[in-house]
Structures are given as C-alpha cells and as structure tokens.
Symmetry: C2
C-alpha cells in the first residue's frame, strides 16, 4: 500500500526514524555513563519498548499500573518503574500481582502511600522497591525538602515488605543548581542515617542533551525522544527529519484562498500547545499555521494563498507526540514512503 | 457498588440528570417549533442517542462516517446527518453502504466533494440528500457568500444521484444579524432558481436558549446539552446540578498545604480550556482551581489550605464534556449515589 492510500486522519510512525532516535540517545547515555529507562507513555506499544530495551535501556518507566500490565502481558517487559503514588486497595492488589512477575519499583512522596504499600507487601516473599519522589521545582508531586525525603526514606527502610530504592525527580528545565543542592542534601542525609541511595532517577525531554548538569543522576527517564515533536524541534533538541510521528490528514475545504480545513482536529492533534503558537507544523509549508482546532476540523491559515487544494494530503508534526499516541487505537508503521503494517496502540487510554 | 468503590480516575454519567436534560431541551424545542437533531459527539453512546430520539428528536448528527456506522450497528439509529465534507473513495464507498440502511444526509461546501458524492450515488436507487454548508462567521468550513451557496445548491440539484436538502451552518455566538442576512439571501437566491430549501440546520450549545434569534432555522443541532459542562455553567446556560458528566478522581499527593495532586490529568480532562482559567470545577470546592495538568496528574492550588487529604475522592465538572467522552473506553452510569453499570463508549475515537 502506498502512503497516499491510507485513510485520513491517521498517525504514521516511521520505523527508520524511530530506530535511529533510539540508537542515538542510547549512545548518548552510554557515553555520559547514565542508565536509560525510557517512558513508554510516548508510544504505548510493547514492540517499541522492546526495541528500546534491545538497544540497551535498563528497563522502562510507566505512569500507571494499567500501562505496566499492558507492557508485561503484551511485551514481556521484565523491569518496570511506575512513577506514580499508588493509592487504594484495588490498585495495590494489582501491583502485588505484577510484582510477582517482573522486577518492579514504584515511587511515593507521602507516608499514607508508603503505609499502603507496606501493608500490601509485608507478607510477600520479595520486597517492593520504593523510591522517594522529590519536588525539585516542578510543583507537581514530590516531597519539598531534603529533610522530608530523608524521613520518608527512613520510613520505607523500616517498614516490612519494602526496600528503599533511591530518589526520583522530574526536574524542571534550567534549574539544575537548585536540583543538585536538593538531591545532594537529601542523599547526604539519607546516607548519614545508614541507608544507601542506589538510584537517583532524573529525566525529561527538554534537557535531554545536558544530563551532565545533574551529575548525581544515575538513570534518565525520557519518553518523547523516540518520536520527537514540534516542541522539541522548537527547542532545537531535534531536527524535522528526526520526527518519527506525523499525522496524515486530507484538505477537505478551501473556503477562501488564504484558508483551508483538514480532517484532523483535537481528536487527533489534541489541544496541547506547550507554549507554542498553532497546533502543529505542516511539513513542507513553513508559512502556514494550524490556527484553530475543533474536534474533527483543523483550520489552516496562510498570510497569502495557502496553495492547498481539496483532496491534497499533508503531514503534520504535532506539538506534543505523547498525547497524540493516546488518541489512536492504532497507528500505521511505515519506513520512508513504504507502508509496513497497522499497529495497535496496546496501552492507549490506560488511566487506572 | 458504592460510588466510592469505583476505581479512579473514572467518568461518571448521572442518568437522572441526563434524562432531565434531554426532556428539558426537547420541550424547549417543541415550544419554539424547531426540530431537534442532537449531535452524538458528546456522548458517543447509542443507548443515549436512543433516549434522545425517544424524547422526540428527529434524528441525530454525526461528524464522521465511522461515528454513523457505530450508531447504526450498535443502536439501530435510522436518521443521520453527517456534518462533514466527505472526500476520498474509501469513505464514499462506506457512505454508499450506510445510505442503503438508513435515512442519510450529508453536507458539502465545495464542488469537488459534491462531484465525488454524485459519482458514488448516480447508479443508486435512492438519491443522497446533500445540504450546503454555509460559513456565517465561524471561519471553519462553509461557502462564504449566499451566491456561492446558491451555485452549489444548483449544482447538487443538477447532478445525478443527489438531492438538495437545504442549508446548514454552525453559527458563531452573538452574530445573529449577520447569520440571518446570509441565510435569508441564500434561501431567496436558491428559491428564485426554482429549487426548494426544505431544511435550514443551525445549532451550537452557547446560544442554545435563544434559537428564536435565527427564525429561518428549521432544525437545531446540539451536543453538550445532554451532559452540560463548566463552559456552559460559566455562560449561565445551565446550573451545577444540571451537569451529568463528572470525573471521579483521588487525591494522591498533598506536597504543601496549599497544593494537592489528583490522579486525573490531560488523559481524562483534556487540555481544552474554552477560554476558561483552570482545567475544571471541583464540586464542593469553589475556591480551589486545577491549575496545571500533565498526562496523569492534575495539580490543584488554593489561596490558603486546600483542605484535601490523601485518598479523598473529588468530582470534577470538566471545561468541555465532549472531549472527555472521547478519552474513555468506558464510563460509569450512575443515578445519584447509586452505581448502575459500566457503559462502553461505543463511538469513541472514531475519526475516519
């Protein structure tokens, strides 16, 4: 099948670019001496997670238990970090089942979650590894002081069924000095209590090429590098030719010479702006912008004539690749201009 | 099952509120003497479409062929308007199959689409009804002048396999004067050419309680009224107690007294802002705001202490209900505090 025969809108994944991105960033991490633990949220496809592991990743990151379940059952993945506070008996029960199948670790930032984990794992044969999530400036989850990190690490070490695994943070951009102070103090306090800190897990796509700025980091969690997207292009983290996920859309209306409408709206591209203007980059049309989305329509405007014709197909690099994966039950694997196969997005929509 | 036993995040649909919303707006349309043709994009559930039809709706609106297919195969719906330019042989073939099963009409705003429809339907027993989409200010699809509307209506009337069905527009808010002039002129021009204009299809949730402002309208297309949402609350189109779709979420972190984090992020709430500040209204906590979303986290801030505890469940009215439905493979039907059943969102993710 020729790419032009694919019904639109569709999400195309170019495996040549994907393989290149995987190898390039794995080589970078190898050179920097940091472990790579890719986040599967970007692709949600066990087959691609296995490509990442084959290239040298030490395991994967999932955000929810249901994502981990999909990666294990469909991909045979055997080393998973879930970077989310697990709360509630149903989720804890599912976590216990998973821990019997693979090398599993989780994070926590509060005593209630840690207590729930201990209550669930205290009678298990092997301990659950728990890392303390630290807020080093992102203002999301995480203990907010090194002292709190130490107190929680001590608690984890003291409770039955649990093993303290280290520190984890989602570092905000350009605050490396603050992050280093936080992580350094927390590590010192914990080690001074006689508890080793085997892992310091950092990550994030925006600062993917400057991992040396947080020298305490032992592993890097990152998702978007496998596909890249417009937000990373705009930060000069990648080139247009490194973008492995594109949306194929058809021009379905040209109401005025300077306006056109495509059959892809927020149900494919999503409303994520990531601080950018417009809803994606149209390959080959740098002067056009996707000015507005409704659910099934994308409105394109140009300063002059768009040059687009009804029926014409365009390819779009989205602002944010991860959220696009989550909109589609299946994507199309391609290599260059060649269709390879339809691929189910196995872990799509997993929120539990 | 008690509502508090439902795993989070989940989308709850209160059938008591839904039934009330359906009856209330149907009564309003009956009183105003305008036909109601609900848009299924809000719920994507055939069972709810059938409630709308049972209450008196003349048919439903779908945005894509795949949505119509789902409504027909799973719900036995028999009157569908697809408000989208249909382009491409695969879609046209699917449209032809559907037209043999139900009363089907579509819209078009250009000659290329109309020609494709005619080529597909010219040898069919019954004609396909085609309405001309008019842009009355929304700057999306639609012919931009009454004269163009007339030319396209004449073309539809002249081509084999097609029957001109009238005019359709998605009217922008508060531009009723401009809309009336456009529709009036277009209707006059078309009728002066000897072609009747049986239907003038208008719609939209923001102006749902002022249909009399466009007196030429013969049918009203509207989706959100079945659930309502924060955007309609803010416009005073509905009360909090009219909101039938809520997101059930759990507080999973309280890093600081004025901050909390829930287990629902943009994968449930979506990034749709609709011009509002914050990402939803937390029922019972009018002074808290959902300040930031990542895919699986919702960050809540208060001016003072949030008053939220880890493990606490909250219910959120989203900014935009339709896009939330599209994130979930299933929702939970409830009545008040009583769980009714899990309900698959049959037409979720249908973009073709």
């Amino acid at each position: 099948m020729n790419l032009t025969e694919i019904e639109t809108p569709s999400v195309l994944i170019d495996l040549d670019i994907v393989e290149n991105n995987i190898d390039k960033y794995q080589s970078y991490c190898n050179k920097k001496g940091i472990n790579l633990r890719p986040h599967i949220k970007t692709h949600k496809i066990p087959e691609l997670a296995n490509l990442q592991l084959k290239a040298g990743a030490i395991g994967v990151t999932c955000q929810k238990i249901s994502e981990a379940e999909a990666m294990i059952s469909e991909g045979g993945i055997d080393d998973i970090l879930i970077t989310f506070n697990i709360f509630g008996q149903k989720k804890l029960d599912r976590l216990r089942i998973l821990s019997g199948q693979v090398k599993l670790s989780v994070v926590a930032d509060n005593i209630q979650c840690v207590q729930g984990l201990s209550d669930t794992f205290k009678n298990e044969k092997s301990q659950l590894t728990v890392l303390v999530e630290c807020d080093t400036g992102a203002l999301r989850c995480g203990v907010v002081t090194p002292r709190e990190a130490c107190e929680l690490a001590k608690k984890i070490s003291s409770l039955p069924g649990l093993s303290f695994g280290g520190l984890m943070t989602y570092p905000p951009i350009s605050q490396s000095e603050k992050i280093n102070i936080f992580l350094g103090k927390a590590k010192d306090l914990i080690e001074a209590s006689g508890i080793p800190v085997p892992v310091i897990s950092i990550g994030g796509s925006p600062n993917m090429w400057e991992v040396e700025k947080i020298p305490l980091g032992t592993e890097y969690r990152i998702g978007t590098y496998i596909y890249n997207d417009r937000s990373l292009m705009e930060r000069s983290n990648c080139l247009e030719s490194d973008c492995g996920l594109t949306i194929l859309a058809t021009v379905i209306s040209t109401p005025e010479p300077h306006r056109a409408v495509i059959d892809a709206g927020s149900k494919v591209l999503t409303s994520d702006l990531f601080g950018l203007k417009g809803h994606g980059y149209i390959i080959g049309f740098p002067k056009l912008s996707i000015s507005n989305l409704s659910e099934e329509h994308g409105c394109i405007i140009g300063e002059g004539e768009t040059g687009l014709k009804i029926g014409q197909k365009v390819r779009i690099i989205p602002n944010h690749a991860c959220v696009v994966s989550n909109m589609m039950d299946e994507v199309m694997f391609i290599r260059g201009d060649t269709f390879v196969k339809k691929q189910p997005v196995v872990a799509r929509g997993q929120v539990l």
